[in-house]
Symmetry: D2
Subunit: 345 residues, 4 copies
């Protein structure tokens, strides 16, 4: 291990779920200084961070400081994590880039290329020129480009799960895509964020289960774009699970020609041979939410029908780690030449 | 069964948890007309009730109507259930009484007699004269007075659980009260109401457990007053359980003189001989939350220490039924001469 | 209401989850005598039923009696509910029929017609002649035949959910069946029965979610047979939800020709016009598990893709009621000419 | 950091919950070799450990090996973790000691000194002479003796929580002990172990809550002995929470003389000044289960009544970490001179 100077990270939105996870990961990262924690809300300025997250008691005395570009410069911030609403990221990422600060944006602001997909966020501005400079931060697909990126658009949690479950099949052209792809995805409640709503009230969620945003979810565009599908080829249905964290996606595809179990397994294993955070399961074992919770792994398993054409892929991850903050730190590791698994394993 | 004309109930606040439970009970009550559902919020007027509670689909087409005294008169309302904030109940209950409409108030507005207890609600008005006309609606203690009441102050959920667990012991003067009484009470989240807050967010509640309002909970005064205790004799600690509904109170007392298990059991059995909604368990079986959920029962069990002086009482009920709406309907049954268990068993 | 003599039901397996639910429903049924509760295990004989289910305390003093055909005859049993393993039902149903006792069997013993589907139960006997006398007890499809049935094979919980979500589409021949049907189904844990296993341990289930029996679940044959599909046309994937009760099935189909939302809605509404226990939701509202829990309803909703060819049906029910015991009592009501909703609404 | 030779640990019972946690901690411990995983059951021999715990996939290929003393010697085992039934620990700990292998026993075999407390385990043997050589492994009370111990009796989860909440008060003699101490303790289900039982079935636990083993729990003796109480001075009531992991104990005591909040706080802070795994909360903030889950902390907070005599202490920990496996590794760190927090923070 060569000795490098530690870099200075900053986080905006550390009091939210994904910002908090980034914070915890950075606090145990050997190559970074203690992260600068920034708040957009005046009311939160100066508050000890342990007031938001008492579980950090005794891990140092971090306070939230008011966000300002001057402060970032004064502290020599090298990388800025934006755990902010997409409208804010839309505004701040270009400004950070202009000031020479690399950005890892956890919102949906810079993930989408095509107009019809970006429409779901209702962006009014047109700084598409800048958009082209953002790299979609899925290391398993874009490792080299992430290393050089000014701005990384950290992928959506559902999107990460579905793309990783499908990429080896799509890229190897073994799917009958015209038949369509069904992603029946289920997520824990932390994916909905920390803001209390009728939908996240314990009494509404516990002992319940429901589909939502059917034919209408923002992550659909990410899956379509990253896999080069046509919109009509993907049916993506999110559901709300009565658990705090974890995503399991059950993915239904049809193979162009019959394959054996061993062939499918080899295809996945080869594709992810260099990807330490994807674990491919040998049939008949399938991933379960528990296995990847509190880790940065995406677990992938599959089952093949007796007709050897119908294939079901099960893809699991922790929506707050591989689906958000763990992946963000994984991206940072790539951007700054650290070991990919630093702070993550 | 004598044939009586059906009475007309009305409910303000039917879209909240306890209002909804009152509504469901009244819809299956053989002696009342379909309840008039009233909303205080303009936004809710005219909305089909099944929009708030789709589980009522197909059980009739009830809509929320704007509250007005004229409407109550026009529809000939006999009894008004107030599932409203205590400030609203404080204002409306006297007005209803003046208009000859009997009131069952589910808020804390009229439960407390003594100034130091009423202080926790911060009432600014002084209409204490009216307060004296409200009867504390715990049928097991005040059945005859409830039958004649103009206004029934429906008890708090925690208070019902603790008072019923203690009353036989206190009334029979077997407790060493100067030793103090500890009520360690645990409640499901529906007790906190339907309004989403940081405290009721699924991610904060699931896999969590916590004490709150220690030495400072509003229901303390009810227990003290109903059992004629001194404030310093009661230690009441509420906790938040990661369940939707149900309360279990573990109550610690010391007997003046050693008693046998059989004597304690007889004491409870005798006290509740006429109370169909209290079930006394034979040791060593103790109540569990499951047993009384979705019923109007308060289940009571106990364990006696080898020294026959230390006694633990376990009292369980469904906070939305015996702890709120079921008890409200039980009170209505008493007020209008119906069978006490009508719609409740 | 015409006055009819009450019939005498008996239940074997009342201490299991579905047997207990049948018991509770029969206890509040106006047309039947108190059910005879029978145990196969010697150890359980004579035990008060409230010892298994303390929540029944105070609802009478029922005891489990040892099963014998003599006892059934002595008590004049009219209908026998079998909440027993399928091997037992396989043996006892023919014997009951021979003795003139009508049977409602909650196991999988008599549901399947075709050899390749029955194989999953591994039946060794060959009394197929008798099998032809059993009627598949899904009232929405077979109401008249159930009324006359000697033996009703009460459907599986998953199967009920999927068949009811698909039947209007299949029977009206609007589906492109050669494209295949995907049923992604999720069930609460009570569907796995009361026997404790590694799979039902709280620590393994809470905060977890998993697929199981992929391409290999016993209920697949029921769906295929009832809808007259070919085996290769159905992909059915069960998942285990961290909830006690409830099933939600997300069903993916392709229409032969584009349809409007109104046309699809009309098709469902017409099909279930006479079926009081199916509630069809108007888009965009979709059923959620909460809405049908503790009821005998099957709730059905749908969403249509912009291309008007891809259709998603969401079908929800309580696996212990419409998915088991409620449907069993609904079948009994049809068999004995009672109102279909008696004890169920 | 001085370079020391790594020690060789072995674990019997690694497939259970606490054994698994010890395994995970040792796998990330910088001073120990990969632990030897031993199984008592023939059926488990040779099985890859990831078959029991697929979440370990990719973290190496550990297999369970059959337990034998020869194997321990051949591998040069320095410390043996026993996550075994107490009967087994009772037999094996003396044998290990005789062979010069230090033991950390997670069972209740060696925790108790007094005959009336040891009776609850029903030990038939009388090797009390050996018992005197076992040190009660609560570092906050016995750090120096643990460092030298041959055999460490790792404390019970409930006991750790209650003793740490009470020790500063008892040791400083500020309590009116004759008034009695009430520990109302609530635990997650993993405390009951991995064996599936009727009590741990998801359907019985979810949405439920119950007291158990009232006046009769095995951990009572540990609390009494460690705090030098008389049996009649402690009332300890365990309850089962519908969560996987975590304990919260609400402890009720009376002070000999009135104290201020600041005095109580100082007393706790001083007592635990050197104990990095106890976090004392400043009032009014109280610990919640979430704060210590997945950590080795015991969090302690308190609330003082207006009379400044009644004191409530809330003590929280993760029953699998500070309540079992984390504490076991903390003990190992002390025994072998490693940093106390190694692998734990």
């Amino acid at each position: 291990m060569t000795m490098t100077a530690r870099i200075q990270p900053a986080i905006v939105g550390a009091s939210g779920y994904s910002g908090f996870e980034v914070t915890k990961l950075l606090l145990r990262h050997g190559q970074v200084k203690a992260p600068l924690l920034l708040a957009r809300e005046d009311a939160d300025h100066g508050k000890p961070f342990a007031e938001f997250y008492p579980q950090l008691n005794g891990n140092g005395t971090h306070s939230l400081e008011p966000f300002s570009w001057e402060l970032l410069r004064a502290r020599g911030v090298d990388v800025l994590f934006l755990a902010t609403p997409h409208e804010v990221s839309r505004e701040w990422a270009p400004e950070a880039a202009q000031r020479g600060i690399r950005v890892i944006d956890l919102s949906g602001a810079w993930r989408l290329r095509e107009e019809q997909h970006r429409a779901v966020y209702g962006f009014r501005d047109q700084n598409d020129g800048f958009g082209a400079r953002a790299v979609y931060g899925l290391p398993e697909l874009h490792r080299p480009r992430i290393a050089d990126a000014e701005v990384v658009a950290n992928p959506g949690c559902y999107a990460t799960s579905c793309i990783l479950g499908l990429a080896p099949l799509v890229m190897n052209e073994v799917l009958e895509l015209e038949h369509g792809v069904v992603c029946d995805a289920k997520s824990g409640v932390s994916g909905a964020g920390k803001q209390p709503t009728a939908r996240t009230h314990f009494v509404e969620v516990a002992e319940n289960f429901s589909a939502y945003s059917v034919f209408n979810h923002r992550h659909t565009g990410e899956i379509v774009e990253q896999l080069h599908l046509q919109d009509s080829q993907l049916t993506f249905t999110p559901h709300l699970l009565p658990i705090a964290r974890g995503i399991l996606s059950t993915i239904y595809v049809r193979l162009r020609a019959p394959m054996s179990e061993a062939e499918v397994l080899a295809l996945f294993r080869d594709f992810y041979a260099e990807s330490i955070f994807v674990r491919v399961f040998t049939p008949p074992r399938l991933p379960e939410v528990h296995y990847s919770t509190h880790t940065n792994y995406c677990d992938i398993g599959f089952a093949l029908a007796p007709d050897r054409r119908r294939l079901i892929v099960v893809s699991c991850l922790d929506n707050l780690l591989k689906g958000a903050s763990g992946q963000a730190v994984q991206n940072m590791n790539l951007m700054f030449g650290f070991a990919e698994q630093e702070a993550l394993a």
